[in-house]
C-alpha cells in the first residue's frame, strides 16, 4: 500500500517512515501541506497519515481543502490536541480516524488496517480468495493450507490485486502503490515479482492481459 505521510517533525517523520516501511507500506514523506498537495495531485496514494500541526497551512485546513476538491484519500490524523472540540473538528474536516500523540505503533497499524478494511468492505482482517488466505494483521499467507513465504513487494502486489478483484490494474497503477519516489525501480522488477507470485501460488492465479495489465479474477459465487 502506498502511504503519504505528512509530518513536519524530522524525528517523528523519520521514525514513522521507518516503522511503516517495515510493515509493508510504501511511504512517501512530505514535510508541509504544500508539497503534500502537489504529491496528491500527481500520484495515487492509498492512505494518508496527516499531522495537524504543520507549518504554513495546518493539517485541518489542508484536509478541508483536498476534501473540497473531492479527494477521498482515506486519512488518519495525528494530533497532540486532546479536547473534544479538536477531535470533532478533525473528523468533521474529513478525517477517517484520528490518533493522539504520543501513540503506540501497534495502534496506528491497527487503525490503518481498520480504515482499509472499511475501504474494501471487509468485516475482518482475513482475506479469503478461493484457496488463498491472508491475515492482514499478521501478514500470514496460506494457499491450500500451505504457508507461503512472500517478500514485501510480492505481498504488496498481491494485496493490491486482491483489493480490486476482477479489475485490471495497469503496470503503472501497480508500481505506484509499490514504490515511493525515492525507490529505484528496475524496469522489469514488476514482472519478476509477478513471476515469483505465480510460482508460489499458482500460474493461473494472476492473469496477464497483454497491453493492459494484470488481474486476479473474481471468485464466482459457489452454489451449494
Amino acid at each position: 500500500m502506498r502511504l503519504l505521510l505528512v509530518e513536519d517533525d524530522i524525528m517523528l517523520g523519520e521514525a514513522l517512515q521507518e516503522a511503516m516501511s517495515l510493515h509493508q507500506y510504501a511511504v512517501d514523506w512530505m514535510k508541509d501541506s504544500e508539497s503534500a498537495y502537489r504529491a496528491l495531485k500527481h500520484e495515487h496514494f492509498d492512505l494518508m497519515i496527516l499531522d495537524v500541526g504543520l507549518p504554513g497551512m495546518d493539517g485541518i485546513s489542508f484536509l478541508k481543502k483536498i476534501r473540497h476538491e473531492k479527494n477521498i484519500i482515506p486519512t488518519l490524523i495525528l494530533t497532540a490536541r486532546d479536547t473534544l472540540l479538536d477531535k470533532i473538528s478533525g473528523l468533521d474536516a474529513g478525517a477517517d480516524d484520528y490518533l493522539l500523540k504520543p501513540f503506540e505503533l501497534d495502534e496506528l497499524l491497527a487503525r490503518l488496517r481498520a480504515i482499509s478494511r472499511r475501504l474494501t468492505g471487509r468485516a475482518d482482517n482475513e482475506i479469503i480468495h478461493g484457496d488463498l488466505q491472508i491475515n492482514t494483521e499478521t501478514q500470514h499467507t496460506t494457499y491450500k493450507g500451505n504457508p507461503l513465504s512472500l517478500s514485501r513487494r510480492e505481498y504488496m502486489i498481491l494485496m493490491k490485486l486482491l483489493e480490486n478483484p476482477g479489475r485490471v490494474l495497469s503496470r503503472e497503477q501497480l508500481e505506484q502503490s509499490l514504490y515511493t519516489w525515492s525507490d529505484d525501480v528496475d524496469s522489469n522488477a514488476l514482472e519478476v515479482h509477478i513471476h515469483h507470485l505465480r510460482k508460489k501460488i499458482a500460474p493461473e492465479f494472476i492473469r496477464t492481459l497483454r497491453g493492459f495489465g494484470y488481474v486476479i479474477d473474481k471468485i464466482p459465487a459457489t452454489s451449494t
Binding site: 517533525d9 524525528m11 517523528l12 516503522a19 500541526g53 497532540a80 490536541r81 500523540k101 501513540f103 505503533l105
Partner: protein, 480 residues
C-alpha cells in the same frame, strides 16, 4: 478608609437619603403651618376677648353710684356658676371651657370689686389698657384690660392658654393628616421606584454571574437597559472580548505546547519500539542515539518554555550596566560550552562551527539592562544565527548609538527568511523553513518569542530585516 454602610449599597443610599429628605420636608411644613395657625388662632381669640370686654363695658360704664356691686357680684356668680359643676361635655346650656374664662373688676385704689370664681383675688395683669399675659394655677392666661372713664374702674378679661392650644392642635392635625397620608404613599412609591430603577443593574449582574471562562459571550443590550447604562454594558462587553481573546490565545498556546511536547514524545516512543523489535545490534544503537537526540530536544523545549513563563516585569528591578562584549562571551559560553579560540587583541570569537565577529564600538558599549535576561536574549539570538547559517560562516554583531536608542544588530548569512514570513518571526512555535534542517537543527520555535518578550520588558523594539544577498538581520533597539 472603610466606606460607610450607606455608600456600599445604591439601594440603601437612595432609600435612606430620599426618605430622610421627605421626613425633613414634612417637619419643616409642620413648623411653618403651626406658626401661622398659632398666629391666626391668637388673633381670633384676642378679637373675641376684646369684643366680650366691650360688651361688658357697655353694661358697666356708668357713674359709680348707679352700680350695685353687691348685686352685680352675686348675679355674675350665679350666672357663671351655673355651669361649673356640669360634666366635661358641651351641652345646650354651655361649655365646660367656660371655666377657663375669668373676669375681674378693679377700682382705681386697687380694690377687687367683682370677680368670677375662676379668677384669683389678685390682679391678673397690671392695670394698663391692652393685651397682656399672666400665670395662675400653673396655666398661662391671656388678658385684655380696659379702663372705664365714667366710673374710673378697670375691667380685666382673662382666658386660659390651653383653649387656644387645643384648637391649634386640632387644626394642625386636620391640616397635616392629609400630608402624612401623602408622605406615606410617597415613601412606598419611592421604595418601589428605587427598586425598579436599579432593576437593570440587577439584570446586568445576573448576566455577568452566568459568565465564566468557557462562556464569555457579550451581554445583550436589551430594550430594558436604560441608555445611561449602555456605555457601561459596552465597556463590559469590550473587556469581555479582550478576555475572551486572551483566553483563546492561551488556549491555542496550550494546544501548541501540547503539540510541541507530544510530537517528540511520539518520535521517542516510535524509536524505542523500533529499537526493541530490531534484532540487529547496530540498528538498536542507532535508535538509541536518535532517542538521545529526542530527549535533548525535549529538554531544550521545556527549558525555553520555562524561561518564557518566568519572564515577569518585576525582574526588571535588577537592572545594571553591562558591557556588551562581556555579555557576548558569557552567553556564548553557556551556549556551546567552549569557545575554541579567542584572540586577545581581536574582535572575533571562534566557535566550533562559526565565527562571531564584532567591532571596537561593540567592545566599548555598555547597556543598562537586566544581566540575566540579556544573557538569555543573546544566547537565543546567537543560537538562532548558528542554527540557520552554514557551518564555518561568520555572524556579525554591530552596535550604533543614536539619541534615544542603542541599536544592536545580529547578522547571519543563512538562508534568511521570505518577506511574507518575516511577520511570523517571534510568534510562538514558528520555525524557519524546514527543508534545510536536520532533526538536530530544529529549534524549539520559542527562541524569538523569548527575545521579543525580553525586549518588550526593556521597552525596546525588535526588527527583522532581510540581508542582501542572503541572511537575516535581527535589530534590537534598547532605550539608551
Amino acid at each position: 478608609m472603610k466606606s460607610h454602610w450607606i455608600q456600599t449599597s445604591l439601594k440603601r443610599f437612595f432609600i435612606v437619603t430620599l426618605l430622610g429628605l421627605l421626613g425633613l420636608s414634612i417637619l419643616i411644613t409642620i413648623l411653618i403651618t403651626r406658626h401661622f395657625a398659632v398666629q391666626q388662632v391668637d388673633e381670633v381669640y384676642d378679637a373675641q376677648m376684646a369684643q366680650t370686654n366691650r360688651i361688658l363695658q357697655s353694661f358697666l360704664n356708668r357713674p359709680i353710684d348707679e352700680l350695685d356691686y353687691e348685686n352685680l357680684n352675686t348675679t355674675l356668680l350665679a350666672a357663671l356658676n351655673n355651669f361649673t359643676n356640669g360634666d366635661d361635655e358641651p351641652s345646650r346650656d354651655g361649655h365646660p371651657y367656660e371655666n377657663k374664662l375669668a373676669i375681674q373688676l378693679w377700682d382705681e385704689e386697687g380694690n377687687l370689686l367683682v370677680k368670677t370664681p375662676t379668677a384669683p383675688m389678685y390682679l391678673l395683669s397690671p392695670l394698663e389698657k391692652g393685651y397682656s399675659t399672666a400665670h395662675y394655677q400653673q396655666h398661662k392666661w391671656h388678658t385684655f384690660t380696659q379702663y372705664m372713664p365714667q366710673n374710673k374702674l378697670w375691667i380685666v378679661l382673662a382666658e386660659r392658654e390651653d383653649i387656644r392650644g387645643e384648637l391649634i392642635e386640632q387644626s394642625l392635625l386636620s391640616a397635616l393628616s392629609g400630608l402624612f397620608a401623602a408622605a406615606l404613599f410617597m415613601s412606598v412609591c419611592l421604595i418601589w421606584i428605587i427598586h425598579r430603577g436599579l432593576q437593570p443593574l440587577n439584570h446586568i449582574s445576573q448576566q455577568l454571574a452566568e459568565r465564566d471562562l468557557d462562556k464569555l459571550t457579550s451581554l445583550s443590550i436589551a430594550d430594558s437597559i436604560p441608555e445611561e447604562l449602555i456605555p457601561v454594558v459596552n465597556s463590559i462587553n469590550q473587556l469581555m472580548n479582550r478576555v475572551a481573546n486572551a483566553v483563546e490565545i492561551e488556549r491555542r498556546f496550550l494546544g501548541d505546547v501540547a503539540h510541541e511536547l507530544r510530537t517528540p514524545l511520539s518520535a521517542l516512543k516510535l524509536n524505542t519500539q523500533l529499537g526493541l523489535h530490531s534484532t540487529n545490534l547496530e540498528q538498536s544503537k542507532l535508535q538509541l542515539e536518535k532517542i538521545l537526540t529526542g530527549i535533548n530536544r525535549s529538554n531544550r523545549l521545556i527549558q525555553q518554555l520555562l524561561t518564557l513563563a518566568r519572564l515577569e516585569p518585576k525582574a526588571l528591578e535588577e537592572k545594571t550596566s553591562i558591557n556588551l562584549f562581556d555579555l557576548l562571551i558569557q552567553s556564548t559560553q553557556e551556549l556551546t560550552d567552549e569557545i575554541v579560540d579567542r584572540p586577545s587583541d581581536s574582535y572575533s570569537l571562534f566557535l566550533l562551527d562559526h565565527v562571531i565577529q564584532c567591532d571596537e564600538t561593540f567592545r566599548q558599549t555598555h547597556i543598562y539592562a537586566h544581566p540575566l535576561l540579556m544573557a538569555v536574549l543573546f544566547r537565543n539570538l546567537i543560537d538562532n544565527a548558528c542554527r540557520y547559517s552554514p557551518k564555518g560562516s561568520c555572524i556579525y554583531l554591530t552596535v550604533n548609538t543614536n539619541q534615544q536608542f542603542i541599536v544592536i544588530s545580529v547578522i547571519d548569512n543563512g538562508p534568511g527568511i521570505s518577506r511574507e514570513k518575516l511577520g511570523s518571526l517571534g510568534k510562538r512555535f514558528f520555525r524557519g523553513d524546514i527543508e534545510q534542517k536536520s532533526a538536530d537543527q530544529s529549534g524549539s520555535g520559542l527562541g524569538l518569542s523569548i527575545v521579543t518578550r525580553i525586549i518588550e520588558l526593556h521597552q525596546g523594539q525588535l526588527e527583522f530585516l532581510a540581508v542582501e544577498p542572503q541572511g537575516l538581520e535581527v535589530r534590537l533597539s534598547l532605550p539608551g
